[in-house]
């Protein structure tokens, strides 16, 4: 008989709140979904009686498309909501908006919100399973899962690998989720960026800090490069993008001068010429497009495993 694969949680609010075993179950299930995505018919009927609402209170291209595709590949019914065209603009509270949507018999909620902790708040008040698709500067668990999955795919295992997260660590939910996920899986994690963009006490999460990009790249096997989040910066943390790019931008010359070949990742959207030069982003050391492809399989796995717990 097949092995039962239950997650320890009903929601995916953040990597901090799930077990290492959960991550491994998600990866194993994602392997199966990756095979499904390479079939002539890339669809399975598993979630045919599940309705999922995608609530995006903040802009998104990749994550929203990836979730929607994952939901449709699993045959779920999907409704989309974006704050810019909704009654939120008319003054409706978050809980009212969500309860109204739940009255329409929705089983799961995928939620992106600019305020950290919003999915957690909702999980205290409603019955549906909630997947956090990014809450402010807090967590973006599915991005961390697909990043770790991509490292596992490229390097065979995450355990023991050295991964540096480069860029705006302070405002990045991707960085925080990645640190939680990679340390749980046994990787060595470092962060690298200008001192103003490295949060104080980040070492307490198990991450080493580099301020010198070259030293960080010499140390690592994989560099996960982040975007400077100008939209979250109310004060100036860096003198200019040009100066940032000079000190923390990765180009071919820098990569070629390293003593080993490292893997380059980026969660997107890329600011070409700022954190990564175009030739690095498109080089064979970059697995940026593999990350996007893996995102659908990993999200299918998360949806499948969480939806499977809901009893109709």
């Amino acid at each position: 008989m097949a092995i039962v694969s239950a997650l320890s949680t009903k929601h995916l609010l953040g990597i901090k709140y799930i077990q290492t075993q959960d991550i491994e179950t998600i990866f194993k299930t994602a392997d199966n979904f990756k095979e499904v995505l390479n079939r002539p018919v890339k669809k399975v009927p598993s979630l045919r009686d599940v309705t999922i609402a995608n609530l995006f209170f903040e802009n998104s291209t990749r994550t929203k498309m990836s979730f929607e595709l994952a939901e449709k590949r699993l045959s779920a019914d999907v409704i989309n909501f974006s704050a810019s065209s909704s009654s939120v603009k008319k003054g409706e509270s978050l809980l009212d908006t969500v309860n109204n949507i739940l009255s329409m018999k929705v089983d799961m909620i995928i939620m992106r919100h600019p305020a950290p902790g919003t999915p957690f708040y909702l999980s205290q008040h409603i019955n549906a399973s909630i997947i956090n698709a990014g809450d402010g500067t807090h967590e973006h668990p599915t991005q961390a899962l697909l990043d770790a999955y991509s490292i596992r795919e490229k390097h065979g295992d995450v355990k023991g690998k050295k991964i540096v997260i480069v860029g705006d660590i302070k405002h990045s939910r991707v960085a925080l989720s990645n640190i939680f996920c990679l340390t749980k899986l046994g990787a060595e994690v470092a962060v690298c960026g200008p001192p103003t963009l490295i949060p104080k006490h980040i070492e307490s999460l198990g991450a080493t800090v580099f301020y010198d990009l070259r030293k960080a790249l010499e140390w690592c096997d994989v560099a996960n490069v982040l975007r400077i989040q100008l939209e979250r910066q109310d004060i100036k943390y860096i003198p200019s993008l040009r100066e940032y790019s000079m000190y923390y931008g990765i180009n071919t010359e820098l990569l070629n001068s390293l003593s080993k070949r490292i893997t380059i990742m980026h969660p997107g959207p890329i600011n070409r010429g700022v954190e990564l030069s175009s030739d690095v982003a498109d080089s064979d050391q970059s697995i940026i497009l593999d990350q996007v492809e893996n995102g659908v399989a990993v999200r299918m796995a998360v949806l499948y495993l969480l939806a499977g717990q809901v009893v109709t």
């Binding site: 199966n32 598993s46 599940v50």
Partner: protein
Amino acid sequence: MTKGRVILKDIQFKLTIERLCHQLIEEYQDFSNTCIIGIQERGVPLANRIVSALHGIDKSLAFPYGKIDITFYRDDFRRRESPLMASNTEMDFNVEGSRVILIDDVLYSGRTIQAALIAISHYGRPSQVELLNLVDRRFNRHLPIQPNYTGITIDAIDEAYVKVEWDEVDGKDRIILYPNKQS
């Protein structure tokens, strides 16, 4: 722990597999435009055995052989406490227009076969699908599904559990009938 009753073993077990192979050769002759698909997990040891026995009888037989997992097609998703872990699917061919021999160890409710038929249809439209089972529990069906080739028919009550054991997996080739699944 209640002991099960051995229904088939040793030479009879081997002869049953060989008989099934001869029946297939009678019907499919050179196996042109034919493929064999084993259902994960317990159908695959049987399919492996059938494929190697077919080659033992006639080395020149050539056909695509795949393994399909039906976990994502099951009709009891969300009706059990937790979802089941899937196994690997290995299908590097399409079934469009071909004759498919679908193989599973025990035919019980028929729900696995229903799921497998949907899964196979995602690899193209086969011209025909036939079903081969080592064990047919003919009085326990939930769906109108019947095998085309049967190793042995076992008449047992619903609660009974039939397990096919394989030398390579369990250490012995045999079919055991237990009074219930827990035993």
